[in-house]
Symmetry: D2
């Protein structure tokens, strides 16, 4: 178990497993096995040595907690791991032991292992992002055109439709998925440089060994070691941060809409989540809680990783190590968030009637601007605004619907009546009309997003690594 | 003057001007003019009104400091600006005044203005990034193959070449420029949505008006308003952060190499910078100071912008405003950094002799691993390491060059002498050989980077906006 | 004007003035004048020289924007300032010019100036914090015992009283004020060390000069220079951050309670703030917006300042400069927040009837736990919980008040009726009773806080510097 | 094992144990036992029930990993823990089971448990901070007056003494320890409020139960629940951040002084740390690496905790949870840093000869300002500076010691010779004199710090909790 106690309920068992001690150690072993095989293929070391080494590169053969504990003393996990691996190889083949980790350096094996874990993390995030996008699209189809309040500065503003609102959730998710894939492709690359990046010990074989290893591990082959060039990893972390920002935005909206006093959405309870036997009226928005928590924590991780880019010379003192320590948490929190929202979106309860009654409770005031704009076209903007301000005040003070107040005004004011038809004015107070307009804007966007998401879902680049 | 006192010497007059009150107000005016013209072209408002409006959309006609001061009372700069603009239009054409800002909202004009300023900021950063890359490439050509210590964990490790080191500075800069351009292209888009993003007031004209405005302002046309979809801007800010991380890495290396005790590089003094009349021996690395300062401040800005993505509903309360307040500082600090390093790189003093003498001062110990690796091929890794450890200790304790100690050992140990030739061993102690190997790795990378940088320099997408 | 455009509406004119170019330059001049006078008093320089120097230490005599612009070239504001000051003194007294800034260093004058500005900032924050606390206490007295929903995880939980809630706003503010004062007292100290902190040039006079300067500037006298000991300033910044966190918490609650659908509180509109002529129903919580914005930005500034503590040797390269650049923003945002909330709290509209109707709208479900606890005392916790879960479901499904459902159950179930009295059960459904209990807890805390706040208000340590 | 793989070598086994799953669960059990006992003492529940509950409040009776895994499903660790505890009590005493967690809420037990863990963390940090301070004081005594370069902006500036430099390391540590204790005393308080902070279920017994629990757990008794008043905890976290900033500053200095080219300090190698068999010349400053890493990571944690203060209403949605998830890492990193430096400081190797030779290598240029100041007293500042600039240039260009150049000038220039004595001038070039002056400033400060540290060491408030 490798996450801290209070990170568990903000994450998922799958992502915790990705960064578990065992998984990290196995990834390091995978590097060592690939290195030995590549060197044998290039004739640098005997084929038998490579076989002996690769044969024991299995985490289950090692006392992983002891290795991790030893890393505390050595200042690096690679040192005890290479030592133990060498000893273990020597049990079977003393000569082969000398070829373990040949020409490589601690940072090579640790960076490559982190890249391998990151790929698995991205696979999980990518999968559940597709699920979340899909569920939101279903919601948009199901509730197309449903009138709903738009709110600005946390106050009701005008009427839109629920599918219009969903576009503002879906579009940045689809873009995030695209950007994550681009950034991932650039960042998931082999690290192999030896002590200072020159692969000096491998002589003329260096490039070929690197090519073989990249092939074997299915990683990109960089033009050289990137020991202190952390930009690709940092850029990937940033895109994870941007995704989490969007997840937080969605979760914030859900949590606001799920307030008892608003009641337009509710996260499904059940499975022990969100409900409370003591307070049976409570429907805690637990998925939103998880996503919001990620959105508040991840930016600080991104900041830590950007700060850690300032790595001295050919290997950093403290910044590379800080980067390692901060990276996993970023992916753990983000997968927790995307998975929680994906689950929630698939079962979210939409109360369209409540959406409508929340509009009605405002007595038509949210249509004041529309009316003012209509009036402005014929009596001028200033006068129209002044008029609507007065009518709105009458509506508020008299607790009457602004439509009624306005139509009464129209019936009393000959000048106005000559310019505007009562039915024309009354029509602007129809929530359905406003919702219809919004929904018409939303639909082509939703269609385009759907096609894009479909394309992304069909080409999932890391699906192979979903299960370790 | 719009930057805080103690940000001035970390920035440049050019970038400070981009985010000056006047420039921001002018960009808002540009939006209003483009809006009126587009609406006239679509027949929404009279052509004369558009002309009247556009005619006064000039910041110099307004008391800009008064507008900014009024923004403090109104909670938004758009409110007093639109009010003053309307009054001013009314002086010339009362009817036209009613069409000012028609169907738009504060966030439309403010976001679009920020996008326009951001484009100018990117133009400056992009220009000086090309300059910096060019200067570093010149250095790499000039000092190709010069032996230099590689240092890991702030300790000397092995010998590389100066051009090999320069690859680790140049490569992430070139990638940063490419990513900045991609992120910029996605983020530099028109904002136009009206009160809640539906352009309701513009009715069926909305889309056409938006298209015309995007054309006029030479901005990308988004599929809809992005009032609370901040991902493209956040992703751009992240890439600025990644660039600054690389600038910080370079500056850190320069500042370490410029220490009197190391003395391999020096920033040129002159023009009042970096020198000290009281302490004439001082050559303060002022450009590095500026870049390092940016690298430590920018990550927190990125964090603030990512945190600010969680914007409620159709317009955020506090987070959009926080984003506005944090954005400019990001670009100001980054241009300060890239300009300072570009200037410094063009005049940096390289002391290749000192690079060499710093290697020599280590008495060959940095070659211990190479020798061990050579010995390992014939006497086994364990034995080779044990031998080199002993020889190295003798070298340290006796203050003798490891080469001499090793050759003496060779001359005394028959077994060893039968396996290795003294000249073969001595050759490994040649800094030039190690540097040569590193330089050979560096050259094709430098060539590829040079082509890529050339291509980028020739296609500078924002050069038009370099001068406002 | 010294703040960035989009920071203006999140700040106040007073705090912007504190960190204006003129004010900072004047504070630096105050340092130089105090230095010259102290050195004259100690016989280090002629009295006439001190008089000549002090006589021109007036910012209005200088072209301040030119000095600030020159700081960009020099890498420090002190260098052009001392140069210009020396030239100006020389106009009147050539001999005196030689004694300007004698034995001091750039960091001495800049750090001390920042301390002087920080004191003025703290004076403003402290004053408005007292005002905010006072207004909240008035609210607590006025609305003592008013029933109100307590909400957990953004869902209604149980009933408390409005004064009980106010304790959770007031108590951390009072503690923040106390901690700010303690931290301020420790941090507001003279900086005087000369080139490397030893005051070497002043010889045996150093300590006495420092003592005189601290007296004259009314600053604490530290045991030595603190050029790279930034802990006291960082700790002060942290306490500002903690205060801002509490301001954000209050603002978050207000903004949630001010949603139209909740409607329990409203920020007064007026003065152009928060209202909207286009949308007359809107009552934007502008003060909350400002405070929330500060609460999201300030933590990143604190992070920047903590990161900047790692200052090399006897004067940092980049981190000291980053600290200078980040500090002002912290105080500017925080004063904006405290002032906005102080103004808002003095005019906040409390809708106690809405608080009550929001409770009633939940049909008694918020009392389920109380009833369960009563039942548990006699029928066991497990059985009681199961019973209430069933009754609550009946209440929800049947849209009936839980009280009615429960009393019906009581009337039907002989065993239950033998254990509980209907009136006893009905009493637990009274919001007033729950509110009363909460209010009784609140009152002694409010009294104690009131006494503490009173004491703090009477001893305002920086009131002298409220006006510059 | 509860820390992430790559945090292990940046932390200590002791602090990892403090925040282990078992330890956290035991602390939660301690809360439940104390609650039951206090309620029994107040007659709220039967004494036998309390005994039955307290009797099984032992983490080793439970499947802790299963509880933690279940927390992922429930959204809280308290829910499965209370459930399991209730079931376990029921095995022995069915009636008692009904009294488990009576009247309390999840946040009560989780917050109190975190406070208990935090106290253990502070005990460890406090102990090793005393050790670090003690070792640095020993160094200061041992090397009192040793001449050493002071460096500003990473360039040599003037000469001080090693004990003068040590003051700038020790003083902020002693202040940090004092502030940590003050902040700790305020923050280490019982959390007990029940569902919404009113302890409603406990009726009139609430206050007495809280008092008894605070006594039993030896925690401070707050005036009320602090479910959404996080200021005391945040302030404590800040002080941890300030401490880490100072640790980072010390580590930065050590790592710079330990560069091979500077060589004034070295961290002792041994025990597998810092050495390298492949590169025997390497003495990696591993302790500095750990402390620097903490200093770059902790500020972001502080930022996360400050951001998380904005907790809604009576229990936050996401921010409280984020706070829990971020807190442990702060203490883990900080203890790693303080322990690493404490160990390093006790065995650090000081090369006073190298300190001296690094001064000499600068050919007297670091004394230029002292000479200029001497000359200025008689020939005026401007002329003195001009002269020294010329002499310094001659020194640099001619590779001659500035003393020799200056004395030659004196011998040639009659006017000068009449004003200054050659021996007076030569004396200023003595490193020992400058070091002596610095050391005299340092000594009284060191004495005062020693007394203060002594007092702190003798009153260690949390020593009781050093071992769990």
């Amino acid at each position: 178990m490798s996450a801290l106690v209070f990170e568990r309920f903000l994450s998922t068992p799958e992502i915790v497993a990705v960064f578990s001690e065992n998984a990290v150690v196995q990834a390091m072993m995978d590097f060592e096995a690939a290195l030995a095989r590549a060197q044998a293929a290039e004739g640098m070391i005997p084929a038998a040595a490579a076989q002996a080494i690769a044969g024991v590169c299995k985490a289950e053969l090692f006392d992983v907690p002891a290795l991790v504990a030893a890393s505390g003393r050595c200042g690096s996990l690679a040192i005890p791991l290479v030592k133990k691996l060498t000893e273990t190889v020597a049990l079977f083949d003393a000569a082969a032991a000398g070829y373990v980790h040949w020409g490589s350096t601690s940072q090579d094996v640790i960076d490559t292992a982190m890249v391998l874990q990151t790929r698995r993390a991205l696979a999980l995030i990518d999968r559940d992002l597709s699920g979340l996008i899909g569920s939101l699209q279903s919601l948009a189809r199901e509730h197309a055109g449903a009138p709903m309040l738009a709110r600005t500065l946390m106050q009701p503003a005008q009427v839109v439709s629920f599918d219009f609102k969903l576009v503002s959730w879906i579009a940045p998710l689809v873009r995030a998925q695209q950007r994550l894939r681009d950034a991932g492709r650039a960042a998931l690359q082999l690290q192999l440089g030896g002590a200072v990046g020159t692969l000096a010990v491998m002589g003329r074989h260096g490039a070929a060994v690197a090519r073989r290893m990249a092939d074997a591990l299915q990683l990109a082959l960089p033009p050289g070691a990137w020991h202190t060039q952390r930009d690709a990893l940092a850029s990937l972390a940033c895109e994870v941060g941007v995704l989490t920002g969007t997840l937080g935005k969605i979760a914030k909206d859900i949590s606001l809409l799920a307030q008892a006093e608003v009641g337009e959405l509710a996260e499904a309870s059940g499975g022990g989540r969100g409900g409370s036997s003591a307070m049976p009226h409570k429907r805690n928005p637990v998925a939103s809680m998880i996503a919001l928590s990620a959105a508040s924590r991840v930016p600080q991780r991104v900041s830590a990783l950007l700060s850690a880019m300032v790595q001295e010379h050919e290997r950093g003192l403290s910044n590379w190590q800080a980067e390692l320590a901060e990276s996993a948490g970023l992916y753990i929190a983000t997968h927790g968030a995307v998975k929680a929202l994906a689950d929630a979106a698939g079962a979210i309860e939409v109360d369209a009637a409540r959406m409508r009654s929340n509009i009605d409770a405002l007595h038509g005031l949210v249509f004041a601007e529309s009316i003012a704009m209509l009036f402005a076209t014929r009596i001028g903007k200033a006068q129209a605004h002044a008029l609507l301000e007065r009518l709105s005040n009458e509506s508020v003070n008299g607790q009457r619907h602004l439509r009624d107040v306005t139509l009464l005004e129209l019936s009393r004011d000959d000048a106005l009546r000559s310019l505007f038809d009562a039915s024309e004015v009354a029509a602007l107070f129809e929530p359905e009309a406003a919702a219809q307009h919004a929904s018409q804007l939303a639909r082509p966007q939703l269609d385009a997003l759907s096609r894009q998401a479909q394309g992304l879902a069909e080409s999932a680049p890391w699906a192979l690594w979903l299960n370790g």
